[in-house]
Amino acid sequence: MDVTHPLDPYLRTDRLPHLWCPGCGIGIAISSLLRAINKHIMEGHLKQDDIAAVSGIGCTARATLYLNFDSAHVIHGRAIPFATGLKLVKPNLKVIVIGGDGDLAAIGGNHLLHAARRNMDLTVIMVNNMIYGMTGGQVAPTTPTGVYTTTTPLGNYEYSINVVKFISTLNANYVARASVTHPHILEKYIYTALSKEGFSLVEVISPCPELFGRHIGYKDPVELFNKLKSLIRFEEKPQIEKSDIIWGNEIIIGEFINDNKKSFLRIIGRGV
């Protein structure tokens, strides 16, 4: 296959075009991931054959279909346990979990919590579009209060989960929030996450114009993107207490935890 883009070697190009909608942020998240991986490979830290990509089910999870690594597209919510089993028997692999907020924080929330508790050697990229994309725009635990979705036609009346705050209370070595509206920061955080032992999580704020924006008055993808961009505020030293996402208020991005605690594999004597 002709190489037409520098990142093509990391893609199963025969499977393109991808299924994501125009205006969706997942593509930016994945290209940022690939640039970060490429940088590590170019710097000699990683080899393409030593990378494993694992995902559950959802729009974001579909990423593994296109990635030219050893990949697993498993079941909804269970990417982290699959990845954990794999990592424990193949400690030399860099195991990356990619998923949506529903996949990782709702149905898979228990596994997310315990992987962070164990400081399990995994890099988790969670694309938070604040909605269930794949199934048609139902409320997610990340959906901000008040927002209209297909299962909350009168507006979401539940409190939402702040994943970075939640995971920061555990033993993860790295917890950061980025946004596809600021791809350089996003790439940098993923790069750092990939260089960590133990558990690392990058939450990626991302627009879903079809199913999130459309119901709250942003019919045009560009409008939603610009709205999101205007809400994002980068902070060098972000405060966890101020990181809750309330639609209409500023959304703080930054590195919340950057630590070097002994990872699970180090603890059991299998660290690589």
């Binding site: 054959d49 050893d70 346990p81 699959f82 954990t84 228990n110």
Partner: protein
């Protein structure tokens, strides 16, 4: 461990936890990994991940835990992942009696996971058979790239018996077949003649694609009738066409028997006692005991009951496997002898129900 187990993931549940606790002590010494997860869902999915990492992996559980595992079981079937589940039945429904026995889950084990598939399930009746069939379960799972379930119960889990262990060098141990073609030509779901695809592991450079969606030989999602048919039938047929290597049963005194009891697992121990007792009184009765519970070994069931006038299916539940026996022996008189007992049903209880029809 004789079969080459290297990874165990589990969540404690009576009466299966002894397996977990024993392995937690022994497996790491042998270079293996044991980990307790947050639930059975994580456990089964981690076992699948570990198997794709290239090692033999298992979990153990009981009814409530298996109920949580079935979505993962369906994934293992779809992704053709070798693994073993030791399912130690206890009295249900629901939490039931954790420490007590029963055979209620014989249908659940077969049908609980969604989709159409064949599933290999063994039912040992002694500690020796638990040992032997565990090795066999790993061999089958590796050969056919299927999950295999070893179905025992609280009675067998807690019994003390003499057992002869094999030297790992003596035991027949089969490992999954590896790709024979170059990395460029390798397709993770391209079967060989036995309908089983060679399996590359993660980290070997084959760029495997483990896919839970309906997929073609490359592991690429395809939403067509053609690919769906091809995949579903291959998953089913790779088990059916290899039945010769799965079948395992035992028959006792069936040649001249007017009555044949069909019984499996711990209950068959009592049925055997009853058969011997009745024989000593001159009653022509025999026992057929399938060790392979699923798929049903129709051939040996028909053969062992050929001369029987009546067939009695004795089980420690409300009568479930009897439906399979009736289906296979549709021209025979088949009686259900369901004896619910929190221990092994004693021979007298079985006889009490059976004698009405003899």
């Amino acid at each position: 461990m004789t079969a080459g187990l290297k990874f165990y993931a589990g969540y404690p549940i009576t009466p299966s936890s002894e397996i977990f606790e024993y392995l937690a002590m022994k497996l790491p010494e042998r270079g293996g990994t044991v980990i307790q997860f947050e639930d059975e869902i994580a456990s089964i999915n981690a076992v699948i991940g570990a198997s794709w990492g290239g090692v033999k992996a298992m979990t153990a559980t009981s009814g409530p835990g298996f109920s949580l595992m079935v979505e993962g079981l369906s994934l293992a079937i779809m992704t053709e992942t070798p693994l073993v589940i030791a399912y130690v039945m206890r009295a249900g429904p629901s939490t039931g009696i954790a420490t007590k026995s029963g055979q209620y889950d014989v249908m659940q084990v077969r049908w609980a996971a969604h989709g159409n598939y064949e599933l290999v399930v063994y039912a040992p009746w002694s500690v020796q058979e638990l040992y032997d069939l565990t090795i066999n379960s790993f061999n089958v799972s590796e050969t056919l790239r299927v999950p295999v379930i070893l179905l025992s119960d609280a009675t067998l889990a807690h019994i003390w018996e003499r057992v002869v262990l094999k030297d790992p060098n003596e035991a027949l141990v089969i490992n999954r077949k590896k790709p024979k073609v170059s990395k460029e030509l390798y397709k993770p779901f391209e079967p060989e003649e036995d309908l089983v695809p060679p399996m590359a592991s993660f980290g070997e450079g084959y760029r495997v694609m483990v896919e839970s969606l309906t997929h073609d030989e490359r592991g690429y999602y395809k939403a067509t009738t053609e690919i769906q048919r091809k995949l579903v039938w291959r998953l089913i047929n790779k088990v059916r066409k290899n039945m010769h290597m799965l079948v395992d049963s035992a028959s006792y005194f069936v040649e001249d028997a007017d009555y044949v009891i069909v019984s499996y697992g711990s209950t068959a121990r009592s049925a055997y006692g009853l058969v011997k007792e009745l024989r000593s009184r001159g009653v022509k009765v025999g026992l057929y005991r399938p060790k392979l519970l699923w798929p049903v070994d129709e051939e040996s069931l028909i053969k062992s009951t050929r001369n029987a006038k009546k067939v009695f299916v004795v089980e420690n539940n409300a009568g479930v496997y009897v439906n399979e026996v009736s289906r296979v022996l549709r021209h025979k008189e088949v009686f259900s002898i369901p004896v619910i007992d929190v221990e092994i049903p004693p021979p007298e209880s079985i006889y009490e129900v059976m004698k009405e029809w003899m």
